[in-house]
């Protein structure tokens, strides 16, 4: 049985028993209408669509569902576009009602993703309004719509960049295929796919919505093409070997030098690199790729320009790493290696990328290659870094000590001290840092520059041991030096912020991190940190903007985004969304054992909030002995929380004694303990979540 319906007007027209008869059904009220009364002007002519179903009931159900989805989307678009306050509230309340009874949030979000928003943040304002009035479902839809914009932008960029020939198998137009993707492909899920396999699995389901065999093959080939472009890092060399478009666009090499001066050329390249980084940060991959191709073509068209091109590619790769855009970084580095296969520095940077992506074996192979190319010492240190990131600190130290003449190399001695600190051998680490400072004071050649680095190490030890005033003083003193380079200043500035957070000096922490972000707009770790500080200041909504969702593969330190995001969502009582970030992400993170312990605590907190103590205890039992006294304190409080929920008084007493032995002052956790003793679980949760926000660094 088939009919026609208008999803905007909510009217279904079905063929009647006679040739000239028809039945008109008002899908809103579910009543039949007089066909004559139901004539024209119900909706725009383009709005009428064919609809199929087994019987009238199924047609009415399907049509009605489509009507409510379309209505929700239409109203939310108006709210996103801006409505006067009183109207906005009524509109959002109405959509909340629809979401509560008629359609799922996911369907509405998918339809809102028909194209990237001109202003990606435009859903935030109505989202805040919705939260003000307790309209959680609609707030969640708006928030997710805003969060997903960079992913959508990136996806659309690739989609629009696909050549027309890719769609030649379809009987439908390219635009019609896109609409089917939006309406049928669970687009939000597709955008969040974490790899080719996940993407392809979701994408291929789309074939069921295309009746023609040609279109189905088209679905498959478009899917393959898109997954290849969206996840290049799964096959990093692929983009290098398939260099046809770049080759076509390459300017002929005539050996003539350009008329511009070296200074002008340098400035131009700087601007081009900034534009590429900007495009990557906005998810405009096609644009970034185009700019990159132009830059590389331009540089390689000069005699001996490959070297410059490799430097540009490595420079962009570094910026991408700061943004945690490891996919684009991989692409840049693969191109760099193709241009200069024997450039050890490019190889080392590529190996570092693999290390951060958790591909340790591959990283080690690349460093071995670099070692053979003459960068032995650097490659050995990088190899040691891999062991360190894997948590095998003893092996890392042995690898550093294998570097010839390591005792005369302050960078290596600092790295050894760092690994001692990570192992928890604070005293040994402190001694090693102090020795570095002593040697510098003695005027040992090359050691002067390691003084600041050693002081940072000591400040970190003080922080971990709860001597926050000392740590704070050290960082302030370190940052007062004028000779520190920009990159180090960024790292030390973040260190200072972390101490300020632990001391609950949130306003100052915000000012410091905000200043860093002004100076380093692509430093995502700084943005994550600002997000956490905003959350601690009770500005969770604002904080979420800094810890937006990202489609890229996991990498080292990237867990902070999901961790902070999960905690902010938890504070906003959006527990299901928080779960995705705190619990479901846990097995996938690339992090050290101590960082994983912090993540496990956050996941345990989620289970405690649901009163699921078995799961919480399971997670807490995996936490090893912690060297950081703040983390140790919090783990005891969470165990106390679980025991209190289970009314295990004996364990509570034991834990309370252990907590009393901790000498650091943490008023937040002290309040949490008091609340737990009085069985004030929700109050305790609010302190615990803040403690977790303070903790990670």
């Amino acid at each position: 049985m088939n009919g026609v319906f208008s999803r905007s007007a909510g009217v279904l027209v079905l063929p009647g028993p006679g040739t000239h008869d028809c039945t008109v059904i008002d899908l809103v009220g579910g009543e039949k209408q007089d066909p004559l009364e139901a004539q024209y002007l119900y909706s725009a002519v383009q709005d009428w669509e064919d609809i199929d179903g087994s019987d009238m009931e199924s047609l009415v159900t399907a049509g009605s569902h489509e009507y409510w989805v379309a209505r929700s989307v239409s109203l939310l678009r108006l709210a996103i576009g801006g409505l006067e306050r009183s109207l906005e509230r009524r509109v959002l309340a109405h959509v909340e009602e629809i979401l509560g009874s008629r359609v799922s949030s996911g369907e509405v979000i998918n339809r809102l993703l028909v194209a990237p928003l001109a202003d990606p943040d435009s859903p935030r304002a109505p989202c805040r309004t919705a939260l003000t009035y307790g309209l959680a479902a609609v707030a969640s839809v708006l928030d997710e719509t805003a969060d997903i914009q960079p992913l959508l932008q990136r996806f659309c960029d690739h989609w629009l960049g696909l050549p027309g020939t890719v769609f030649s198998q379809f009987t439908e137009s390219r635009e019609a295929v896109w609409l089917t993707v939006v309406e049928k492909a669970r687009l939000a899920e597709l955008l969040r796919a974490r790899g080719r396999s996940e993407f392809t699995t979701t994408w291929n389901l789309l074939a069921f919505h295309f009746p023609e065999p040609g279109s189905r093959s088209g679905v498959e080939s478009v899917g393959q093409r898109l997954s290849g472009e969206l996840f290049p890092d799964e096959e990093p060399r692929e983009g290098v070997t398939d260099g046809a478009p770049a080759e076509r666009e390459r300017a002929p090499r005539d050996g003539k030098e350009p008329a511009t001066s070296a200074r002008e050329a340098f400035e131009k390249v700087k601007r081009q690199i900034s534009a590429i980084a900007e495009a990557v940060s906005r998810g405009q991959d096609a644009k970034a790729t185009k700019f990159l191709r132009e830059l590389i073509n331009q540089q390689t068209s000069l005699r001996g320009g490959e070297g410059y091109a490799v430097k540009s590619l490595c420079n962009i790769g570094k910026r991408c790493a700061d943004m945690f855009r490891t996919d684009f970084e991989a692409d840049c580095l693969a191109q760099a290696i193709q241009l200069a296969p024997s450039d050890a520095w490019a190889l080392i940077q590529y190996g570092d990328h693999l290390k951060r992506a958790g591909k340790y074996d591959e990283a080690l192979k690349v460093f071995a290659q670099a070692e053979q190319l003459g960068e032995g010492e650097l490659a050995q240190c990088c190899t040691a870094d891999v062991f360190s990131q894997q948590g095998d600190y003893a092996r890392a130290i042995r690898a550093y000590e294998a570097v010839p003449g390591f005792r005369q190399k302050p960078e290596i001695l600092t790295a050894i001290a760092d690994n001692l600190r990570r192992m928890g051998r604070m005293h040994d680490a402190g001694t090693a840092y102090a020795e570095l400072i002593r040697l510098a004071k003695q005027g040992r050649r090359g050691f002067a520059r390691s003084v600041v680095r050693a002081k940072v190490g000591l400040a970190e030890i003080a922080k971990r041991e709860g001597r926050l005033d000392e740590a704070l003083g050290s960082y302030r003193e370190i940052l007062s030096h004028e000779g520190i380079d920009d990159r180090d200043r960024l790292v030390y500035g973040l260190g200072l912020c972390n101490v300020l957070k632990l001391k609950e000096q949130f306003q100052e922490a915000y000012v410091v991190v905000d200043g860093i972000i002004q100076d380093f707009p692509f430093a995502m770790e700084a943005r994550f940190l600002r997000g956490s500080i905003l959350g601690l200041c009770g500005r969770e909504d604002e904080g979420l903007k800094d810890v937006f969702e990202s489609p890229v593969s996991r990498s080292w330190r990237e867990w902070l985004r999901r961790y902070y995001r999960g905690l902010l969502l938890f504070k906003l009582e959006r527990y299901e969304d928080a779960k995705k970030n705190l619990v479901e992400e846990l097995p996938n993170v690339i992090a050290s054992a101590e960082e994983k312990a912090v993540l496990s605590m956050a996941a345990a907190l989620w289970f405690l909030s649901r009163d699921e103590t078995v799961e919480a205890d399971g997670l807490l039992s995996t936490i090893p002995d912690l060297h950081d006294c703040h983390a140790r304190y919090l783990s005891l409080v969470l165990r106390l929380h679980s025991a209190a929920r289970r009314e295990d008084v004996a364990l509570m007493d034991s834990l309370r004694k252990q907590i009393a032995d901790i000498r650091i002052v943490d008023q937040t956790l002290e309040r949490a303990v008091t609340a737990l003793w009085e069985r004030g679980f929700s109050i305790a949760l609010s302190y615990e979540v803040d403690a977790l926000l303070k903790l990670a660094a």
Binding site: A9, G10, L41, V45, R77, L78, G81, L83, A118
Partner: protein
Amino acid sequence: MEAALKERSGVVVSMPASRARQLFENPAELYANYEKLVGAGLRAPAPFANDQHRCAVSALLFGSYANRIVYGALSLTTEGLPTYGAAHCRLRPVSVKQRTSFLQMNSFNFVKCTEMAPGDPIPPGYMASWGERHSLVLAKLADRLSVGQTESEWQAMLIASDGVNRHNDDFVEAHVYGGFDCNAIESLARNQKRLSRQEELDMDIAMSRFEQSLSEGEP
């Protein structure tokens, strides 16, 4: 009346509140690359396939472009036919005068009364272009006009409706070729019909957006 018709009469399209609201929802403005991704008019115009009679009437009058016609009523005020919806959109003359014709009555009744058959020409004297609309009205209402009538009385003659049954509507039907968007709307009025909560919301949104667009000086 002739002067009033020449100077102040226009096309009013009446529609349900939800349709009026949608006129002010412009996805192309909200999204970047909207047109590139979605294209324009993708959903094939699907007429009221089963409304055979309606199609036959339209086809008799307009032939192959029947499904491109938007129906309205000639009006001296901002009010249109209440039986077609709560929202009355009066269209800017400049946006429709080159593409509008008028029929002395509802086309459905007209075909019935004149017993037109496929291929028959439209009898002369019942249709007019924009510039001759006053003549069409005067010919229709001549025997009801008298000295001393007010403009509101003329309006009541021009659009007569009980607000309930479309069979009882009497008006001069306007046929606008092609669609129109919110920029073509000169005024937006609502009738006094009681609306559901949903319709009320749609109507308020439409009114608010229309007023906003006026204050921004766009349309």
